[in-house]
């Protein structure tokens, strides 16, 4: 019986004309051909349906039996495809239409900014333009809304917050402007207090009445200068100034004697993968083997609001080399001091100076060098504290 499988393989109806019809048909079936719906239409002619893949056997044998074969019609998938491919223009138009839909769906059509004054709005627009976010550009090349948000906030100090939302083919931005209250703060009565324990080296009080002098040791929270100009009178100022004091930091540092570094060589490979849903198959570069550090980047398309589950993933491979290094105790101590100093510098204010360092203790245990260091730092410890006047 004609079934689904035959339909996929393709069927063709042919007409055979000749004298040795039965013998011809018999010879073909001997070779494994299937025949359907054979009918005699005249003394020397029959019509029958055969499989498309068997047609070459019929062509081979027809000469031997002096028969003529005419193709009447074709059915099934191969013929449908053939018909489709013959209409080239249609196929090209179809492909172009798909490409066009993808392109249009992945183009930015509008940017809408709300909630901020026109001046700032223009600045935001200009910044967006410089990031490549403007109507008519492809969404594929743009950064994520989160990244754009971060960039805008970094670049425009007047923005307190900006929300970036991608809605289909348009960006909606909602900004909040910063309102500055700095000036008000400057006028409120305030004291200067110590932010940490230390020994005063250089007090410099611009406004207010100083309460400490050089070489005084102050505790955390102790008043350095007061905004109350005269005791028990209501004449307050905003105390201002810089109080450089010597402070001490104790740092513990442990360093392994043997260290393994992963060094990135210059060698760089690229690997590409296409993933459909959770199934990923490699396209390029899958044969690369070795010790690599991987960095992945996923590219995905979007049609209207629907994201097709097809992604192209690029994996950058950087070859790494493990190098193990043993340090001597002296080297480690130097390193330890250096590391500790650097990490301390990050914690301290910009204009602080590390005056002196001292190793209080060092010892080796379990393949690790343990250091206890003391740093002497000159830094500004003045901190503004508003005076509550009870009103």
């Amino acid at each position: 019986m004609k079934n689904q499988q035959d339909f996929f393989q393709g069927l063709m109806t042919i007409r055979i004309k000749g004298k040795l019809l039965e013998a011809f048909v018999q010879a073909c079936t001997k070779r494994g051909c299937k025949i359907y719906d054979m009918k005699r239409i005249s003394h020397e002619e029959i019509v029958l349906t055969i499989l498309w893949k068997d047609f070459k056997i019929w062509k081979q044998l027809r000469r031997k039996y002096k028969c003529k074969v005419f193709l009447e019609k074709g059915q099934g998938v191969p013929f449908l495809l053939q018909g489709l491919f013959r209409k080239n223009a249609l196929l090209i138009a179809f492909c172009l239409a798909i490409v066009l839909v993808f392109l249009l769906a992945n183009t930015l059509w509008s940017v809408e900014i709300k909630g901020i004054n026109p001046e700032l709005e223009a600045a935001v627009e200009e910044k967006l333009d410089s990031y490549g976010v403007s109507p008519g550009k492809l969404l594929l090349t743009m950064h994520e809304p989160g990244a754009i948000q971060k960039k805008l906030l970094d670049d425009l100090p007047d923005l307190l917050w900006i929300g970036v939302k991608k809605q289909g083919t348009s960006y909606h931005l909602y900004g909040v402007e910063k309102t500055r209250h700095d000036k008000d703060d400057q006028n409120q009565p305030a004291d200067l207090v110590a932010s940490k324990k230390g020994m005063i080296i250089k007090p410099f009080i611009k406004k207010g009445r100083p309460l400490v002098s050089v070489y005084d040791v102050v505790k955390k929270g102790q008043r350095l200068a007061t905004g109350q100009l005269v005791d028990e009178e209501k004449a307050f100022v905003h105390a201002e100034g810089e109080v450089i004091a010597e402070t001490w930091y104790k740092v513990e540092q442990t360093l392994p004697v043997k260290q393994v570094f992963q060094l990135t060589e210059g060698t760089h490979h690229k690997k590409y993968e296409v993933s459909i849903g959770s199934f990923a198959f490699p396209i390029w570069g899958w044969w690369k083997e070795g010790n690599f550090r991987e960095e992945q980047k996923v590219y995905s398309l979007e049609v209207l609001r629907w994201k097709p589950p097809v992604h192209v993933k690029r994996i950058d491979l950087y070859e790494i080399d493990d190098a193990s290094v043993r340090f001597s105790e002296k080297q480690l101590m130097e390193k330890g001091v250096q590391f500790a100093m650097e990490s301390l510098k990050q914690q301290l204010k910009k204009d602080s100076i590390i005056k002196d360092e001292k190793v209080l203790h060092h010892g080796v245990e379990n393949g690790k060098v343990k250091l206890i260091l003391l740093f002497k730092v000159h830094e500004d410890i003045a901190m503004t504290k508003y005076i509550s006047q009870g009103d």
Partner: protein, 93 residues
């Protein structure tokens, strides 16, 4: 096939109760009323027309007479006929 071999085969099929079409290389013909005829184990199509179809098998021919006969399907050793059957005749060699 020698006569002796034939006899052995006939005996084996009878003794072991095996289907005789397998043992004796005979065609198995099945008809559904008088509209379909299914023949297995044939060796060739000899003649084919609306009224008459002749089929070769190992030891002879089968002649099928009828009206509007046609071959619905044909494989190497199978044949499915349709039409209005009138008679099936065996013509041994």
């Amino acid at each position: 096939m020698s006569k002796w071999q034939k006899q052995i085969r006939a005996w084996v099929s009878r003794y072991f109760d095996l289907p005789s079409d397998v043992m004796l290389d005979l065609p198995r013909i099945t008809t559904i009323g008088s509209i379909h005829l299914y023949i297995e184990n044939h060796t060739g199509l000899l003649h084919f027309s609306d009224q008459e179809i002749r089929i070769q098998y190992k030891q002879g021919q089968v002649r099928i007479l009828g009206k509007d006969l046609g071959v619905k399907m044909m494989l190497k050793e199978e044949l499915l006929l349709e039409g209005t059957l009138k008679s099936v005749e065996f013509l041994p060699d």
